[in-house]
Amino acid sequence: MTLFALAGAFETGLLFALVALSIFMSFRVLDFPDLTVDGSFPLGAAVSAAAIVGGFDPFIATFFGMLAGAAAGFVTGLLNVRFGIMNLLAGILSMVALFSVNLRIMGRPNLPVYGQDTVFSRFESVVDAGLWSNTILLLIIAIGAKLIVDWFLKTEIGLGLRASGENPAMAEAQGIRNGAMTLLGMSIANALCALAGSLFAQMQGVADVTMGVGTIVTGLAALIIGEAILGRRTVFLATLGCVIGAVVYRLFIALALSAGFIGIRPQDLNLITAVVVAVAVVLSQRRGKRGRKQLFNFKLVRGAQQNDEGQD
């Protein structure tokens, strides 16, 4: 792995920390397995790229991207809360619909923003750290987002959100409106994901309608690796795990990419990545037997069941 590859892994890793935080909000805090993110990631990219090409300031364009993501999350929440569509399906519907919406927004499948002002070019004109400029900006954003999520989850509304995800019946008895909490949480989660998409498009110089493929998988992998490393006893550790897990996952991919010297061929990349991550999680499982079983108490399944029961 060269310095460039290392910087690249940190860049994409810190960027996907935002996706991991998004998935933490929906899957963990809200107990809502949200598949919207595969659509809201390219949505953020599409909106901010279209806005930048349309002459908006890149910071405002990024903000538009986040707003659009929040709206997408709100729609998923609405489908679930107001119309009683099961949470998994609600997310799938939004994700599918967003493909068309993104094409409409960009007017075509692939919209370059090369040579335009982006938040990265703005930052680099102030702090020029060469190869590491993007990494520094993304580190600030990822840690900032992590701290804001930490803070938010400790406010009264944030506590309500956690209660609503943890035990809806109890929360309702305490006067918390579960529906409103779902809408709020989903909006925040997808705004985070769209922020990641906006930044990815600006970093990469192009927004593409297919770039959301695999967002959920990468984000989940990051979340779980983070939990394997740090656990999730406190919000602070869990969100820190999102950031670290995302970077570690990308380092694993960079490692798989540079593994060519042991006879590995290009088509083996995904396999190598999967094996490396599996080995890492198995290592943690061995240790986990001593009192950290919550690690594999995976809410993806439990959440779906709970919601099924809540449908009638």
């Binding site: 460039f4 590859a5 690249g8 499948p109 370059p112 960079a254 490692l255 010297f261």
Partner: protein, 326 residues
């Protein structure tokens, strides 16, 4: 827990150490390195890659001898594609080659001073790779697979007499396909043909998109769309049942059951791209090399498919074909 943390750190450290030492490329002036990346495994893209390596061998750059080839597939994932681009930036090869639009865009964004050659990009201008294809302004040039669609439409007119409406199946999410479909529509207008489009956002939606054209179109013309061509057989099946002839602009499709294709083969494109790479290795800069759409359009015919879809092929057309499958 701690030991896992250590394990991860150790892995990362090993990765860093192994990595920092592993790809130390030979810096001898007569030993060259070419780094090739492509978005996904695909017959056309693979053919380009092989063509490049073949052409380099003809020019005296033999892999394993005086040439190191680093090939990386993004396996269909754009994020991985950007990471491959950063890996290449660190490798500092003599030339970086991006096969497909997203691969070329990722390289353009990260390679800095390293010359970049792209291949199989339908519209390099719309993709933001070059502004003037005759004199590329940045450190990037390459080959485009943009084909004028008019000859293909004229071929359909000659093989399907009385054809009025042409059906087109494509993935609206593929930038290359949208460009091609727009051009097909423009050319069809000039020839007095109508175009019905039937979008399919994924490969699994292609069979329905094909059935949707039955009764609406007199023939189907497929652009070189990755999602569509990958399930060509499904369209051929519909075409045979409904006597709706299927034409493509991808010559490999003819062996897979399309009636005819007017296009160039991607191995040829790979050779032209390889020639460009060789020119760069010999000291030229990308701005000195114009973007090329390689070769003439060759006709490939499948007589069995023609019969199954109810077409009689005149001898004059048959004789002009570069390859006829009986």
């Amino acid at each position: 827990m701690l030991s896992f943390k250590k394990a991860v750190l150790a892995t990362a450290a090993v990765a860093a150490i192994a990595g920092f030492s592993a790809p130390v490329l030979a810096q001898d002036s007569d030993e060259k390195t070419v780094a090739i990346t492509y978005i996904v495994e695909h017959p056309a893209l693979d053919a380009v890659r092989e063509g490049i390596i073949e052409s380099l061998a003809e020019k005296g750059y033999t892999e394993g001898d005086n040439l190191t080839v680093v090939a990386r597939s993004a396996q269909g994932n754009m994020t991985t594609q950007t990471q491959i681009a950063s890996e290449f930036a660190g490798l500092k090869p003599d030339v970086a080659v991006g096969i497909s639009t997203p691969s070329a865009q990722a390289l353009k964004n990260s390679m800095g001073d390293t010359p970049v050659i792209f291949a199989a990009v339908t519209d390099p201008v719309a993709a933001g790779l070059v502004e003037n294809p005759e004199h590329p302004e940045a450190n990037i040039t390459g080959t485009s697979d943009k084909q004028p669609p008019k000859p293909a439409l004229e071929l359909i007119q000659s093989l399907v007499p009385g054809a009025k409406t042409i059906g087109v199946i494509y993935n609206p999410g593929e930038a290359n396909s949208v460009v091609q479909v727009d051009e097909i529509k423009a050319a069809a207008g000039e020839l007095g043909l109508e175009v019905v489009d039937s979008p399919a956002a994924q490969s699994t939606m292609v069979p329905d998109a094909a059935r949707n054209l039955v009764g609406k179109a007199d023939a189907i013309l497929l652009p070189t769309d990755n999602s569509v061509i990958s399930v060509l057989e499904a369209i051929v099946t519909v075409g045979e049942r409904a006597k709706l002839p299927v034409f493509t602009t991808d010559t490999d499709s003819v062996e897979r059951g399309a009636v005819a294709a007017l296009g160039f083969n991607y191995a040829e494109m790979g050779k032209v791209t390889g020639d460009m790479v060789a020119e760069i290795l010999a000291g030229k800069t990308p701005s000195e090399i114009a973007v090329v759409v390689p070769g003439n359009q060759d006709l490939f015919l499948n007589m069995k498919a023609a019969e199954a879809m109810g077409i009689t092929v005149p001898d004059s057309v048959k004789n002009s074909a570069k390859k006829v499958i009986e």
